[in-house]
Symmetry: C2
Subunit: 476 residues, 2 copies
């Protein structure tokens, strides 16, 4: 054990045992260095480590403090949700009515937004973005709106490619197309490689927007189970590819919605290899990529694409600029086809907005914002997990994602999550019930909870209420 | 003849006879009032009339001046293009490759943009819009990006409804959905009422983007001839509706692209009535609505819709904010279906941009800008028509639209417009060749010219070159 790890463990023990209480300042670097006879840089290393573990947090110009969530029971206290049983059938997708009725009902801004698909807009640098909008649109060459429509604003595409490069993924500029959010990108990808009636392999549970896109394009779904920690089941995917004429595979490889699963790097490589063997394109929905809690950004499956078969979709909606509707796709061998589909569908994304985000990426301090955002989400996850353990029935299983802002909960089997949804909504609390994540309306006893808003008294109370509602359905 | 009409005629005669030269100031209101013994308001009425006729133009704080284009020969000097022969067949649409190769080749900003689909961005208040972007995005309630995504920014929808109301069309707010430009709106409309393989009645010639949308959705086109002045041929449309199971009719009712045709109000009413009889929805592409040269805005067909069968699509791209990509649709009985399709396709249009345009409509002086824009376009049309008469072969037929920024030219039959396109492009001039406006690649000897840029020496020279190219193909 290295010196700094030893010191970090000492401090962690002080926190666990309650000597250092949540909110309390940990010893200053100078004090610790003198008291323990270690160098300041060793102390710093220890504090960085504790910060990454979520135990402490830096406040600008005032030192390190114990995190409010540091004392929450760690993962082991919860069982993970189970992998869904595999249903080896393709399903016509017809879930939109249910999804819309759920989404419509949770628009009320006074509802506690556990059912929301978005993190709180308050977590984003909207004022700083507004400055970028002002200056970028003022300085934009007007001719650009005619000449640079497709495949998108050159500076923005360069900035995105640069970020990938720093993360170890070389994306040629030519492959990058800017879209109206990732949802449009995903629509275009599916459309580029399928005809109505075709089969598409999707996750079970899957993000409901994926189901809606399939429905809109009249495609059939073959559901592949998702492990709540490791993601899509590659064994079953392999069998499915042998058995069915699958035309595409849609997969959220990092912090899957709704489970939060993160496919480990080695398995991402396997996934790409498996699909390459069958020459089936992978549509990689990677909109939560920036919201990791660990020390490093997880690599996308696209990083292992040697064949141009991976269509990799990203977005700023969840990490920087909700409502700006700027996403992108790096579509490999399908790039030109998708660029043309985009031109036929909606020409291009809003030019001043593209210019603004390019400006922000260059001058706005994106990485600083992301660090803050990740800390906030990790804290909020801890607080919500603690509330689950306080208020929910003991048989509850819950995922503990390493990023994103969703928990996936498996309630006791007798609980009907659509019933929970309705009762909770009547009390001003929204949740996302399991059946909206499955074309076969499975996951009847599962719910997705959003911890993307700052944790408040009201959130704590809402969790207590939810727990009571669920327990009442068990006849306790 | 009223007093002011008499005085207006006198001044017009002075202009025609050359007494008042282009650019010269006409008598001031005070001077004219004293000299002719008429009231100042009579003089004003006369000048307004002359202004509407394009003879004179007001300059702020310096009075009225003779228009540079006032002396150009009026319409009678040209024959109109002929109505295309009716082909009574449905056609699979497969024109995209040709369209893309034409569009790709005219992206170069150094090319004289007669082939462009856009007016010059220089004609728009982009700096003022940029101020609206800054203030509106700064003041926007962040929660709006979650709660008001669909059907769009409430203030923007209110402002649009208000403009229609002033024009005599009551559009309920609930019907209005904001989209990523009109192109997305048109895509959604077609998708809402068709299945692959269905027949759609379109114009001949038709805007090529319409053809691309049909191609993308695997629809078949039935072409209805367009008169270059009055628009779609209602007799043939009626026969077609009797004979074929038409699922929708797509029509640009005002300043049609490419001919510039304006369907008169009475015939718009007939069109709506005819389609109502067959219960066929009308997709009304009305993106040039604000670019009229006459004294009044033409009413859209939507104004005569009693049955909710008209899906009316508009946009700010051609009249205010190119590149902002904000359009809308008022879809009558299909409104909810289209709202849901939009949610599945791209969620919503960029929120800060919607807020900015709402702000501009309220405070930016939209009507003042539109007046200037219309004058500019009318002047430029006059200049281009004059150049056609100077440089093009005598057999040339040309439309003389009452709005928009396109001329449709019918060249002598032996001229191959794709050949003209290639030769002209090699000399730095773009044009839009006829075949891109037809699924059957007809209109081989027609071209569309864009007069949406300020008239320059280079434009004049380019017209001379074009004329020479065309004449060389006649063996003159």
């Amino acid at each position: 054990m290295k010196r700094y790890e030893k010191y970090a463990d000492d401090i962690a023990e002080l926190i666990r045992s309650g000597v250092l209480a949540p909110g309390q300042r940990v010893p200053s670097v100078r004090y610790a260095s003198q008291a323990h006879g270690i160098s300041p840089s060793t102390v710093f290393q220890a504090y960085y480590l504790l910060e990454r573990r979520g135990m402490i947090r830096a406040r600008p110009r005032s030192g390190y403090f114990v995190n409010p969530g540091a004392l929450v029971q760690p993962a082991q206290a919860f069982s993970e949700p189970q992998v869904s049983a595999h249903v080896s059938e393709s399903t016509e997708v017809d879930v939109s009515e249910l999804v819309f009725s759920v989404l419509d009902s949770i628009k009320d801004p006074n509802t506690v937004p556990f059912g929301s698909a978005f993190p709180s807009p308050m977590l984003f640098p909207l004022q700083r973005l507004s400055r970028s909008l002002a200056s970028a649109s003022r300085d934009m060459d007007p001719r650009m709106v005619v000449t640079d429509m497709s495949p998108g604003h050159p500076q923005l595409r360069r900035q995105i490619a640069l970020r990938y490069m720093v993360g170890g993924l070389m994306l040629p500029m030519e492959e990058l197309l800017i879209t109206n959010g990732a949802l449009e990108a995903l629509n275009l990808c599916l459309q580029a490689v399928t005809e109505p009636g075709d089969l598409v392999a999707i996750e079970a549970p899957a993000f409901y927007a994926c189901l809606q896109v399939l429905e809109r394009l009249k495609l059939k779904a073959v559901e592949i189970p998702v492990h709540p920690r490791d993601g899509i089941d590659l064994g079953i995917l392999a069998q499915t590819l042998e058995r069915y004429p699958i035309k595409a595979c849609w997969c959220m490889t990092s912090f899957q919605n709704p489970t939060g699963a993160l496919v480990p790097e080695a398995r991402k490589r396997e996934l790409v290899e498996l699909l390459r063997k069958h020459q089936v394109p992978l549509i990689e929905d990677d909109v939560y990529a920036e919201l990791y809690f660990g020390p490093h950004a997880p690599k996308p499956a696209k990083a292992f694409d040697t064949d141009g078969l991976v269509m990799h979709c990203g977005s700023f909606a969840k990490s920087l600029a909700p409502g700006y509707r700027i996403g992108w796709v790096a579509a490999g061998r399908y790039a030109q086809k998708i660029e043309r589909l985009k031109l036929m569908t909606s020409l291009c994304a809003s030019m001043p907005v593209q210019a603004a985000i390019a400006d922000y990426l260059q001058h706005g301090g994106y990485d600083r914002h992301l660090r803050k955002l990740r800390y906030a989400l990790e804290d909020q996850q801890r607080a919500m997990l603690a509330a689950v353990s306080r208020y929910f029935p003991a048989q509850t299983r819950v995922s503990q994602p390493a990023g994103g802002y969703f928990l996936w909960l498996e309630l006791p089997e007798s609980v009907d999550s659509l019933h929970v949804f309705r009762v909770a909504l009547a009390q001003g609390i929204s949740i996302a019930p399991g059946p909206i994540f499955s074309p076969a309306r499975r996951f009847a006893h599962c719910i997705r909870l959003n911890y993307g808003s700052p944790w408040t008294e009201a959130a704590e109370k809402a969790m207590e209420t939810l727990g009571r509602i669920i327990r009442s359905m068990l006849g306790h």
